[in-house]
Symmetry: none
Subunit: 202 residues, 4 copies
Amino acid sequence: MMPEPEAGKPLRADARRNRARVLEAAGAVFAARGVAASTEEVAREAGVGIGTVFRHFPTKEALLAAVLVDVLRALADQAEALATAPDAGGAFFGFFTRVVERSNTKNLYADVLAEAGVDVTAATAVIARRLRAALAVLLDRAQRAGEVRGDVRVPELLALMVGASRTAGYAANDPDVRVRALAILFDGLRAPGYPGAEGRSQ
Amino acid sequence: MMPEPEAGKPLRADARRNRARVLEAAGAVFAARGVAASTEEVAREAGVGIGTVFRHFPTKEALLAAVLVDVLRALADQAEALATAPDAGGAFFGFFTRVVERSNTKNLYADVLAEAGVDVTAATAVIARRLRAALAVLLDRAQRAGEVRGDVRVPELLALMVGASRTAGYAANDPDVRVRALAILFDGLRAPGYPGAEGRSQ
Amino acid sequence: MMPEPEAGKPLRADARRNRARVLEAAGAVFAARGVAASTEEVAREAGVGIGTVFRHFPTKEALLAAVLVDVLRALADQAEALATAPDAGGAFFGFFTRVVERSNTKNLYADVLAEAGVDVTAATAVIARRLRAALAVLLDRAQRAGEVRGDVRVPELLALMVGASRTAGYAANDPDVRVRALAILFDGLRAPGYPGAEGRSQ
Amino acid sequence: MMPEPEAGKPLRADARRNRARVLEAAGAVFAARGVAASTEEVAREAGVGIGTVFRHFPTKEALLAAVLVDVLRALADQAEALATAPDAGGAFFGFFTRVVERSNTKNLYADVLAEAGVDVTAATAVIARRLRAALAVLLDRAQRAGEVRGDVRVPELLALMVGASRTAGYAANDPDVRVRALAILFDGLRAPGYPGAEGRSQ
DNA sequence: GATGAATGAGCATTCATTCAT
DNA sequence: TATGAATGAATGCTCATTCAT
C-alpha cells in the first residue's frame, strides 16, 4: 500500500512508517495550504524532524512528486477496481466524478494532475501509465455500452479531467454551479458528436 | 487602452509609460514563470528599477491584481465587441475559444480567472462585473439563436471557461488533443440536455 | 526669524518660505514619529515635493541638524530673554523646567540636545555656543542670588538638562513622578554641596 | 547565568551557546551602533549565519527585547546582591553609579531602561518587576540609614536613573563633568527636601 | 526653482537544504 | 537513523537621493 520509492533497498520498519507518515502529512498540508507550504510544516504535521523528511525525499520537488505518485496510485487503484463493474456508464462517470470531487479547495489535484502529463520523474511515468491504462478500460467499456461517444480518446479525457477539477475548484463554494457545469461536460461526452451526429452507437 | 487603474490623478507621460511597461512585463513574466516569479524579475523585464515597480504597485499582490484587471479588461472588451455580431453562435464559441487559446502554458489565465470570481479587490470586482455582463449578452444571444442550450447560466459558463483554460494548458503541446477536448465541451454546451437527447438536429 | 542656513546667497521669497515650512514640518514630524520618520513624510507634512526638501537640505542629516539648530536657537532666545529677569532663581529654574517640559514623548529633544554637544556641524557649534553663553548668564545670576550652589558649571548643567529631559520623557505618562524627580534634581542644584553643607550663601 | 528566556524546552548545548553568542553580540552591536544596526551585523559579530539569529529570536524586536531582559537581569542580580551589604548608603549610591557607568556611549542603556517601564512584553515585565523590587530594598535601607531623603519613591528613582544614564552618555568624553553632574544629583537625593528643609534625618 | 518619478542599496525575514549531535 | 540547529541565497519592501520634466 505504500512501498519504497523505487523498489530500492528494503527500509527498516520504523523508516517505512516514517516515510508513510511524511507522505500523508505532505498530502494533507499541500492540499490545505497549497504547494507553497513549507517543508517544515510538513514535518510538524507528520510529527517528525525536518531532517527525516529530507532523508526520505531529498528535495521538496521529490516530495511533491511522491505525493503525486501517491495520488495517481489511489486513482489508478479505483479505476482498476471499477474495470469490471456491471454498469459501464456508471463506472465511467462515477470515476470521473470522484476525481473531480477529490480536487479540494486548493486545487492541488489539478496542479498535480497537470504535472502528471509532464512525467516529472520515471516514477510518475510508471504510475501515470497505469492510470492511463485503467482509464482506457473504463472508457472503452462505456463506449461499447453506448454511454460515451465513440470518438473520445484517453488523452483528451485526461485533459478534460484536469480541467474539470479546476472548474470544480473554481465553483467550490457553490455546489449547484459545480453540478451544472459537470452536467454540461458529461452531456458533451455522451453526445453523438457535433456537427453531423451520425453517432456510432445507433 | 491602458488607463490609470481607478481614475486616479493623471500620471505624467513617462510615469504612465513606465506603469504600462511594468504591467506588461508582469503579465509576461508571471505567465511564463508562474506567479511565484520575483518582482525583481518583473523589474528587469520591464527595464526599470525595482523601486519603480513598487512605486506603481505597492505590493506584489497589488501588481498581480493589476495584471488580473488588465486581462479581464481585455476579455471584457472583446466580449463587448462581439455583442452585436450577426452570428450569435459564432460569437459565443469564438469568444470561448479565444479565452482558452490565450491561456498560456503556465496557466496564469486560469489562476487569474479563478481569482476573478473571488473579487479580490474592489477594482477586480468592477471589471469582473463588466465581464460577466458582457458574457451574459453573448450567452443569451446564442441561446435565443438556438446555438446553446437554454439551461446554461453565466456562473457555470465562467467555471467551464476556467476549467477549459486549464484543459488547454494541460494539452498545450498536443494541439490535436486540445481541439478534441474543446469540441467535446462545446457539444455539451449545445446539447439540449440529457437524458432525453433526441438530438437537436432532427 | 529663519535666516538662510549659512548666511549664503539670499533666497527668493518663496524659497525662503518653503525652507521655513520644511523646517517646521520636520520638527513636527520628527518629534511625533521619531527621527526614523521618512523624508517623504516631512515633505507631505510641509505640503511640498520631496525634491524641495532635498534642495534646501542636501541630506537627511543636514535636515536634522537644521531642526536641531532651530531648537537650540529657540532655547537660546528664551534664555537670553530671561537674562535680565528680576528673579534670578526663578529665571534659572523656570528655564530649566521649560527645556525639560518641551522634551516631548518621542525624546527628540534629548536626542537633539545630545547631538548638540558633539557639535555636528559648524552651524550647530555656533548656536550651541550662543546657548551656552546665555545659560552661563542665567547660572551666574542664580548663583550670585544664592539660589544655586556655587560649584555648578555650564558643562554639567547642560548634561543635567539632557538627562532631565530623558527623565521627563521616561515619566511622560505620570506627571507626578516627573515633578518629584525634577524636584530632587533641583534640590541637588540648590544644595550647598555634600558632605559638609555649611550653607550655600557664603 | 544565561538561561533560556522563559523556561522553554532546554536547548542543545551548541544551541544554547549560539544563543548566548548572538545575545552578547547584539548587546555589543546595538550599544556601539545604536538599535538601528542591522541584524546582519549582529550575525557577523556573533560569527553565525543570519538564519541562526532569526531561529533564536524570530524578529528583530524580539532580539532587542531579549537584550533588554539580559541587561535588566544583570542589574537586578547586582541590586539583589547588594541588598544585605552593611553600608546601606554605599550600596544604594554604588548601585546607582554602576548603572550609570555601564550606560555606554550610544545610550542603549537609557533606551533599554526606558522600555523597561513600558513593559514591552511579559518577559520584560517579569524581570522589570524583579529589578523594581530589588531597587525598593536598596532604597528603603538607605532611607532608614538616613542616607537618602525619605520622600523618594521607586518610580522617580528609576526615572532619575534613566536620565542620569543619558547625562553620563552626554558627558561621556569628559569624566570630570560626569562626576560633577552625578554629584549634584546625588546631593538632591540626600537633601532633606527643599524648600523647608526640616529634614527627617536631623 | 519646484516637482515627483526613478533608482538601487539595504533591511528584515523565509525556507530549502546540510550536517553535527 | 532521527533530530533540529545552522546556513545563506532569495524575496518583498523601504527610503535616501538623483534627475528629467
